[in-house]
């Protein structure tokens, strides 16, 4: 299964992913129209600034997700195969239990209906909108193995370089 | 309706408490949200504080004990009696036959005037319960750093990157402290808790060290050994700002983390982790409390804490320092005011001729008695020996709070005359010849000094009914005895305090009343903003340098034996307060624990066949008490825990004193648990 991975050293904090996310979850899927829609399309991921670092936060779709456990109405469910945590707005009662237990603070509020709001990994899209919008490729959508390979490549490159320098 | 700002009458944190007053009656509590310490928060005790105010059990009239009961008398008669009896004893047996217990719950002004009265009467036999909680901090930190107080304000903990908590259960005792520890944790701080019992505080820890009771020094020395071995000490700091490091290094040369592990029962890897985390962080703080002080080695324990902080240079900056959390709302102030047998106001030793005479001249005398007086526990011993004939106790309940309280009862019963001044007819008051009812915190104004050294003004919210404030009583009494010719307002006394104590010189009633957040002493003049962080550039020692005092582990005075196979330790719980004189009378609090309970490890409980809720008898070589069993893994096998808010617990505790600070070794006693109390299962 592909996941959204973050290459933290590449985020420049331009907030493009946030805009793309909100637009993707609008009716029109077009920024110029989306800004005047009601309810206002909302982002489901957040670019934060911590320790002078720019960090995109989005649902990690955790294994045995705490939000799913805490949900008393069955609005949050996890697909056993894809591990995607889906939120059913019709079942949500806005009790905020999921918000309170989420360790990453990525469950927000849909303002108008006073219910929870979270990443749905853009069903119907091959690549999630945030990933596609990222101009520096800080967000990538790939298999876990593929991502680990990237990191390995990077490390190997460094080692090889130092080896060459050492002669 | 108006909101009157007062200071919460419970613990030493000094939280502000707004009282809603309408038509002269207190109708509710309001949170004071702009206070930097609390941001409005209050613990359950603070929330229930108003219950004291109109409590039906409050005594409302002076009473004398007569055969068969109490007789209510008028104020004039009561003061006349008190003055006459005290003077009779003084004339017959000399001033040192008098004993005075001041109160860490009374205002600065009341404590100041109370000790002034004792000393003008010619004795230094004036002490208060600081002796029973933090006298080792006063002695130890004064030796090491030059001041026996907390170095930094509580909210400053938020700036710490590593917080080492030793023998403190602030989550229950000073709940507001947890706010700032959690804040630091939110900012990435590493929290270490060392406590034999898995308290709510320990639940906050990143690393929990369940050490054996009474092995603090071994743990601290073990950490220091690691720090030295790994070169993590701040040698620049040591060289520039301290003395005596070589002796410490030498004393630790044969100590190791393995030895520490053997003594404390901790995993050596955990001690190493703790040492590295504390030494390496940019700002580390040590919070400690009675788990450190209430030992026969209390002073040594405190010195070991100071050694660790000094060795790593973790003093004098934001987020660093030592945080001895004081227990009562004015225990810091009462100590500052010199309600201590060996120290005059401003921590001037009674033996310091210059300082003493300076004070004497302020009081219009040639000189004051130089000989240090008797401390709390010593006074009781002296009473048993018949050396002390009369005692005047202001707002303390030694019958519950003293160690080996059976002796205290004997002592109090033996006195020729005992006067007690309190809100309720406490266990101590019941033994008195004369009982004087007093105003509670909301019925008087005055200043309190919190554990942070934050001096704050508490405003009178309602008029007292039938009772006088401690200050008024002392004023009238002194007038009757002829020590002075008028009574005093709190403002007048505070101004005199400013003259007597240099650290309070800049603290005036006007400034305190105008300030929402109080002033940190030392505050040498009226334009000085106060000193939230001590030891920034120099220590308060005479030469400005801090001192290392090598200390080593000594086994507790009492080890488990065949007859008494368990170790008992005591502590507090959130809903109760000290001797319980206040909290046990208040339903919203007492419902959380109406009677005494004892925590026992499941393993021990199984061996003894005890079940949850069962009543047991706990006895030590000194006495026994009954309690309800709570089976819990919070205590390690072989250890039991009792909250000390209930009468009887201190019948069991040990009276061994720390040689310097004269604090009793409350925290470790041997005991046994037997099935079946008088009420059966």
């Amino acid at each position: 299964m592909k996941e959204i991975f973050v290459r933290l050293d590449r985020c420049v904090g331009c907030h493009s992913c946030e805009l793309a996310c909100a637009v993707e979850h609008s009716r029109s899927k077009n920024i110029f129209e989306a800004i005047s829609e009601t309810p206002r399309p909302r982002r489901r991921l957040y670019v934060e600034y911590v320790m002078a670092r720019k960090m995109p936060f989005l649902c990690r779709h955790c294994e045995d997700a705490p939000c799913v456990r805490a949900c008393r109405t069955g609005a949050l469910t996890q697909d056993p195969l894809t591990r995607i945590v889906t939120h059913n707005p019709d079942k949500c009662i806005g009790c905020w239990m999921c918000t309170m237990v989420c360790p990453y603070g990525v469950i927000g509020r849909e303002w108008e209906r006073r219910i929870a709001l979270k990443c749905d990994r853009c069903p119907g899209r091959e690549i999630p909108a945030c990933v596609e919008a990222c101009p520096t490729k800080a967000l990538v959508f790939m298999e876990q193995e593929e991502f680990a390979r990237l990191t390995r490549l990077e490390a190997a490159e460094e080692v090889a370089k130092s080896y060459r320098i050492a002669g | 309706m108006k909101v009157v700002p007062t200071i919460c009458p419970y613990c030493g944190a000094g939280c502000p408490l707004g009282i809603k007053v309408s038509n002269g009656e207190a109708i509710g509590i309001e949170y004071i949200t702009d206070h930097p310490l609390t941001k409005g928060a209050l613990c359950p005790k603070g929330n229930a504080a108003l219950e004291i105010l109109y409590h039906p059990n409050r005594i409302r009239s002076p009473m004398v004990r007569e055969r068969g009961g109490w007789r209510e008398i008028g104020w004039d008669e009561a003061l006349e009696l008190l003055a006459r009896r005290l003077m009779e004893v003084k004339e017959k047996h000399g001033p040192d036959a008098l004993g005075f217990l001041s109160s860490a719950k009374a205002t600065n002004e009341e404590n100041y005037l109370f000790q002034k009265m004792a000393r003008l009467l010619g004795t230094n036999n004036v002490d208060h319960c600081a002796r029973l909680c933090h006298s080792p901090s006063v002695v130890g930190l004064r030796k090491a750093l030059g001041s026996g107080t907390m170095t930094n304000p509580i909210p400053d903990l938020a700036n710490s990157r590593c917080i080492f908590i030793l023998g403190s259960n602030f989550a229950e005792n000073h709940p507001i402290v947890s706010r700032w520890v959690l804040e630091a944790k939110d900012r990435g701080a590493f929290v270490i808790v060392a406590d034999p019992r898995y308290t709510p505080t320990a639940q906050l820890a990143n690393l929990y060290l369940p050490l054996r009771p009474g092995t603090n020094i071994a743990l601290l020395n073990g950490m220091m050994a690691v720090i030295l071995r790994e070169g993590l000490a701040d040698f620049q700091f040591i060289a520039q700002r301290t003395k005596g490091f070589e002796a410490l290094r030498a004393s630790l040369s044969d100590f190791s983390v393995e030895k520490a592990s053997e003594i404390t029962g901790l995993n050596p890897a955990d001690i190493v982790t703790a040492a590295r985390a504390y030494a390496r962080s940019e700002a580390s703080a040590i919070i400690y409390c009675m788990g450190v002080t209430q030992h026969a080695t209390g002073t040594d324990n405190v010195l070991a804490c100071a050694n660790l902080a000094l060795m790593c240079g973790q003093v004098g900056r934001p987020g660093t320092g030592l945080f001895p959390l004081r227990g009562q709302n004015n225990v810091q102030g009462a100590s500052d005011m010199g309600a201590l047998a060996d120290l005059l106001p401003g921590y001037v030793p009674t033996t310091d001729d210059g300082g003493r005479r300076r004070l004497a001249s302020l009081w219009g005398r040639e000189d004051l008695p130089p000989k240090p007086g008797l401390t709390v526990v010593e006074m009781m011993e002296a009473a048993i020996e018949g050396k002390i004939k009369a005692m005047y106790i202001m707002g303390e309940n030694p019958a519950v709070s003293d160690p080996k309280a059976g002796d205290t009862l004997k002592a109090l019963e033996k006195l020729e005359f005992l006067a007690v001044q309190d809100l309720f007819l406490t266990e101590t008051a019941q033994l008195a010849h004369l009982v004087l009812p007093v105003a509670c915190w909301a019925e008087k104004s005055g200043s309190y000094t919190s554990t942070e050294r934050r001096v704050q003004w508490s405003e009178k919210a309602v008029e007292p009914q039938g009772v006088l404030s401690d200050l008024e009583i002392i004023g009238l009494l002194g007038k009757k005895i002829g020590l002075w010719d008028k009574t005093f307002s709190p403002e007048e006394v505070l101004r005199e305090i400013g003259l007597a104590i240099p650290a309070y010189r800049g603290i005036t009633p006007e400034r305190l009343k105008a300030s929402t957040e109080g002033i940190f002493w030392p505050c040498p003049d009226q334009s000085h903003p106060g000193t939230p962080i001590l030891h920034r550039d120099r220590f308060l020692t005479p030469d400005g340098k801090a001192n290392f005092y090598p200390v080593s582990h000594q086994p507790p005075k009492e080890e488990p034996s065949l007859n008494f196979p368990l170790i008992m330790t005591t502590g507090r719980m959130v809903a109760h307060y000290n001797s319980g004189a206040l909290s046990r009378n208040i339903l919203p609090l007492s419902r959380y624990a109406p009677s005494l309970w004892v925590e026992i490890n499941p393993q021990d409980a199984e061996e003894m066949g005890l079940v949850e809720g069962e009543r047991v008898r706990i006895s030590s070589p000194r006495g026994e008490v009954e309690a309800m069993v709570r089976i819990s893994e919070k205590v390690i096998p072989g250890l039991i825990f009792l909250p000390f808010h209930f009468p009887g617990v201190n019948f069991l505790t040990l009276k061994e004193l720390d040689p310097e600070a004269r604090i009793p070794a409350y925290k470790v006693s041997a005991c046994r648990v037997e099935k079946g109390g008088s009420h059966g299962v």
Partner: protein
Amino acid sequence: MGYEVLVRPERCISCYACEVACAREHGGLSNVWVLPQGVPILCRHCQNAACLEVCYTGALEQRDGEVIFHREKCTGCELCLLACPFGAIGLDGKRAYKCDLCSHRRQEGLMPACALTCPAGAISYSCVADFSHRKRGIAGLSWAMGYERRGK
């Protein structure tokens, strides 16, 4: 508008301050319950709240993100108690009682007592956006430190 009582259970020190404060503000009965696990439970003021749906006397009403209880309409049938998924409704002998977010205090512009009094800062009266933003800040710390260790 938009404010909720939100809890960070990991901060709760089980000190019962909220219970004592709530009881004081509500005539001796607390509408919040601190469980030994360190979780204060109180009415979540749900949307399409179950309690409201089962109440046939109209004693419960949803307005502006708040479930309001009208005591005078309550018959003490206990259906709401049964329906509430959190056990956040109590019964004082005859009638139900539940958290009213300290409506009397909010009228004076003051926060609910439990949120203000909590010494550990476990209970907050804030909006979801601020609450989650703060949580992200905390989570970000360890993430950032992980990267720092990686030398990036």
